[in-house]
């Protein structure tokens, strides 16, 4: 076999020599051989150059192994290709002073707003006295002093529920004393697992029904305090939704009333350095160093004396009793051009206390697709931004949720901004909106809305981390 191959090779060679041909000979073996001798790949030439079958096999194996290694390393490198490395820089330097938003925890002065809530407060007082005098008093004659009057029909009443018999759940309206039975299996209990049905306790709950009172949600609470606050908040927003914003601003605290004294890095500042906006929860809020002010404040020197010092005035006597259970002010520190959800991420400041907030800034710049799933300015997110502010994940989620409410309930929720051509939800114009809203809200909380799929994080984020320390203020001697 080999011999014949050789002879053939010889013949070909002779032919080739005679014909003055160049290049490899037209046989598979010779082609491979030509390649092995002429290639620049290192191992192959060795296969040809080695003497003896053992060495040659070894070299073939080695070359194959090396080729396999190259392949493996390539795969490894490819796997790590899409991971982005992070670089962290720490420095102290000229920093933009953050934007500071300050609100009183109480939205409106009670003296100026109580005419709006006359009926509501009476109902609340009656409910409190009924709760504190016990359930038996509700069945008896309405001898509680606070309840000696006619109340308007409450579309979302507070009720007591007795779930001893799962089939017949006893529901009793606290305010009117009306009671009726509901089939437990048909009961739509928010925040109540089915396992709880059958326990002997009376639960306090907020009843939310649709327009024709055929479907109801019972939102249960473990304490009457939370229930009362939720009930009051709902009614309060119902009332405030119809009040024009001009009146609401007038009922709230002005900058001069809230900010007693202001000192920025040794220089005095006053109400003119603050811009005002109306917050549904906290009334008038004031923003220091926001984007509309022309000068850019920078903080050069770290330390207490070179930052912002404020003396705030809360006027606790004028708090709305059932709405503002907590006394103090709320502050949010955020970067310029972004909106701060002060109700979510703010810090409470205690009255009669000096609170020091130490700040440090973290800036995060993500690389974007394909490294991180983030968006530069939100233009690629299919959600309309309802806030007059640059895009952020929270803004996207809230806008998306408000859109959903508008679509399903026909009105906008009071705590979120309203697009043109819509009205805020209130029970007079939109009976049963509470039922619709709470259904959506529990989906929102449970993260079952589409919003979570559509909204993306921003690629650039700036975070102010605060270190809080407290001291008694004013001191004993300075009180004089």
């Amino acid at each position: 076999m080999e011999r014949s191959g050789l002879k053939k090779c010889d013949t070909i060679r002779t032919i080739k020599r005679n014909l003055k041909l160049k290049g490899p000979e037209p046989s598979m073996v010779t082609l491979v051989d030509f390649y092995l001798w002429n290639t620049n790949t290192h191992g192959c030439r060795r296969i040809a150059a080695s003497k003896g079958p053992i060495k040659r096999t070894l070299w073939i194996l080695l070359t194959m192994t090396a080729a396999a290694m190259i392949f493996w390393e390539c795969v490894q490198l490819h796997l790590t290709y899409h991971t982005a490395t992070m670089s962290v820089t720490m420095r102290h330097g000229k920093n933009e002073f953050p934007t500071v938003t300050i609100c009183n925890l109480n939205p409106y002065k009670f003296n100026l707003s109580k005419h709006l809530m006359k009926d509501l407060d009476k109902m609340a007082r009656c409910i409190v006295s009924r709760i504190s005098s016990g359930r038996s008093a509700i069945f008896g004659e309405n001898n509680v002093k606070a309840c000696n009057m006619e109340f308007p029909v409450d579309p979302t009443p507070l009720v007591y529920m007795n779930m001893t018999l799962p089939a017949n759940v006893k529901v009793m309206e606290i305010l009117t004393g009306n009671d009726y039975l509901v089939n437990g299996s048909l009961l739509d209990l928010r925040s109540h697992s089915n396992q709880k049905i059958g326990m002997s306790d009376w639960w306090i709950a907020l009843r939310l029904c649709d327009a024709n009172v055929s479907n109801c949600i019972y939102n249960t609470f473990s304490s009457a305090i939370s229930a009362m606050q939720e009930w009051y908040r709902l009614h309060f927003f119902n009332i405030m939704a119809t009040v024009p914003e001009k009146d609401k601003i007038a009922m709230g605290y002005s900058a001069d009333e809230l900010i007693y004294a202001c000192l920025y890095s040794g220089r005095t500042c006053d109400a003119r350095d603050f811009t005002q906006f109306h917050h549904p929860h906290f009334g008038n809020c004031f923003v220091f160093n926001n984007d509309s002010s022309s000068k850019n404040l920078t903080a050069l020197i770290p330390g207490n004396r070179h930052g912002l010092q404020l003396i705030l005035h809360t006027e606790q006597q004028d708090y709305i009793p059932f709405f503002a259970g907590t006394a103090g002010t709320r502050i949010a520190i955020h970067s310029k051009y972004t909106k701060s959800f002060i109700e979510d991420v703010g810090i409470n400041l205690q009255p009669a206390t000096e609170t020091l907030l130490g700040l440090s800034v973290s800036e995060i710049q993500k690389l974007g697709v394909p490294y991180s799933d983030c968006t530069e300015d939100g233009s690629d997110v299919p959600i309309e931004n309802l806030y007059y502010s640059s895009y952020s994940l929270q803004i996207c989620l809230q806008s998306c949720f408000q859109k959903e409410i508008l679509q399903q309930c026909g009105c906008g929720h009071y705590e979120r901004p309203l697009p043109a051509g819509y009205k805020y939800c209130n029970s007079q114009e939109f009976p049963g909106w509470e039922y619709c809203y709470y259904k959506l809200y529990s989906n929102y909380i449970a993260e079952e809305l589409n919003c979570y799929r559509m909204c993306k994080q921003t690629c650039f984020q700036k975070e102010y981390t605060t270190k809080v320390s407290l001291a008694k203020w004013p001191s004993e001697n300075s009180k004089l």
Binding site: S191, A327, R330, D344, I445
Partner: protein, 667 residues
Amino acid sequence: MWLRKYMTRALHRIQKGPLFTTSELLIWYCQNTNTHGPGRIIAGGPKKRTAWMLITLTVLCVMLWQWYEIAQEYLSYGVTVTVTMGFQKLNFPAVTICNLNPYRFSAINKYIEELDNYTQLVLNGLYTNVGRDEWKFSHGLTKHWEFTPLVWIEKFPNGFRVTEIVSGRCEWKNGTLPQVVPSMMVLQDNRLSQEQPKGNKKVIGFRLCDLSGHECLYKVFNCAVNAIRAWYQLQLLDLLGDLSQADKAKLGYTAKDLIHACIFSGQICEAKSQARNLSSFFHPIYGNCYTFNSEDDDPLQVSNPGMEFGMSLILSIDQHDYIPHLMSSAGALVMLHPQGSYPFLQEGGIHILPGMETSVGIEVEDIELLGPPYSNCTKDGLDLSVPNLYNMTYSFQVCLSSCFQMHMVRECGCGYYLYPLPPGTEYCQKNSHWAYCYYKLYNRLSHENTSCMDACKQPCSDKDYQMTISMADWPSETSEKWIFHILSKEKNMSAGTKINRNDIMKLNLYFEEFNHKTTKESPAQTLITLLSNFGGLFGLWMGGSVLCIIEAAEIIVDLMWIGIIWLTAKTKELRARAQNHQPSFSDAPPSIQQLEQQGHVNSACETETVPGVGDGGDPPAAQTDEVESVQQPIPSTPPPKYEALNVRCPHLLKCDSKRWEEFVDRL
């Protein structure tokens, strides 16, 4: 079979002596290697040759030095740390809540009445002598707290005077006073003598003795309030030592007492499915503690920042029911910890003030270490010598406590009350004698500061919760009336007593806008980067690859083989000459020239390959040899003077000869 053939051939070769010389082999190597330098060494004239030789050697040295550096860097197992921040869906931490007061005073009163009377005596006796005489006559040394009396310690130049506060008994100690470590500096830094001018030359402490009562330790405080609290806590522990944990739990606060209302993301906490209900455990210092969201396999997740999605609690602490001598501060203790881990409340808990709404913004910090050989850490603690007594996730604290408890059990025969027990042991109780043993051990371990610190390693992955805490008054002035009204009713309080702001507090726990920060170690150099660096350098300096190294190895093996053959031949020859001055072989010892010729004559195909095939390859080989010797291309490629070049298997051989032909043609 095949191997045998090969071996016989090898033996044969050894007998014959080397086929070709080392220089030939090296030249062959230089010509055929893929490494760039060596080819040049044999290419030019003598000057160029030396130059190239030097260059190649220098380059080789430089490269080897750089390889060494890179290898060193890799073997130092350096790490790079990456930090990621942002918001993502995260598990809400487990939240453990306790009242600072472990037992209701009204419930425990019957157990501690006597102790309280005695403490009252101590308090009276602190600065006056009132009650001292009274005690002397009415009591014997019967109660165990009298074995660990509170004492005044006065320092004099040559010793200490120890005066028991209640009995007034005096004792003189020469030299130094054996003390419990943390307070040691009190007496050593001469604070006593410094304070003498002020008239306050006494420090308070208590004495701990062993069973015999001869060997004693003093635990010293510089403030009587702390001393009495610590002493009282020790006594209370002994008093309640008889009670089972269930009995003790009954003396404390129930979940309903402590947690008045609980809302998690808009729903009552009980509603978050029964499996996620509060779980309770008994803490030796804080009594009944309750953990929310402790289920390891199904924790609650939160994907939004803010209070709306967090947890809101109303706690009530019943301050009027506090144990007067035990608890000097009032409030609740809250700790956030990962699911499945033990809450070390004393180390990581935060205090919540009554009459306040405390908001706690949470940021999760994840730390992930690579583990050996990069970082000295342990994945789950199973590789350590210390058993995990907690049956919970490993942490450094778990290990330290377990380690201490093991020492305690070994040395004192009983377990320390703060830590869980290894199987088959009991907690220390009664008569406070264990305390002497405990503090002695404590002294020893903190002096040695080796045993437990060395036995324990930090865990490779750790979770830390950073908290931003802010406070506001709650309830507000205008709303406190109705809030107290309803709370009093809900807590079923009698008409006379009403809840006030010292009893209640509100607590909000929620994720901050940026809720996670991951600090992760990754190797600074992986094996791949190491190889790439090697390859890059090798390529840069010598244009080589891994195969070139193997080539070099091959040539070294070949050289050794030649050496062995040569040596055997040499020794045999020497031996033969020494024995009978006659070579043992029939032929004379082969000179290099001869061998070379031999090599030329005997084609390697005959010796190395299967003889039959090798025969066939002969004629063309001879032919090429001729061509080679006649038409030697000078000086570019000196022809190999040895047969190895011809040693090819037939099919390769013919092609080689073809190449030669082409080469010749071109010439």
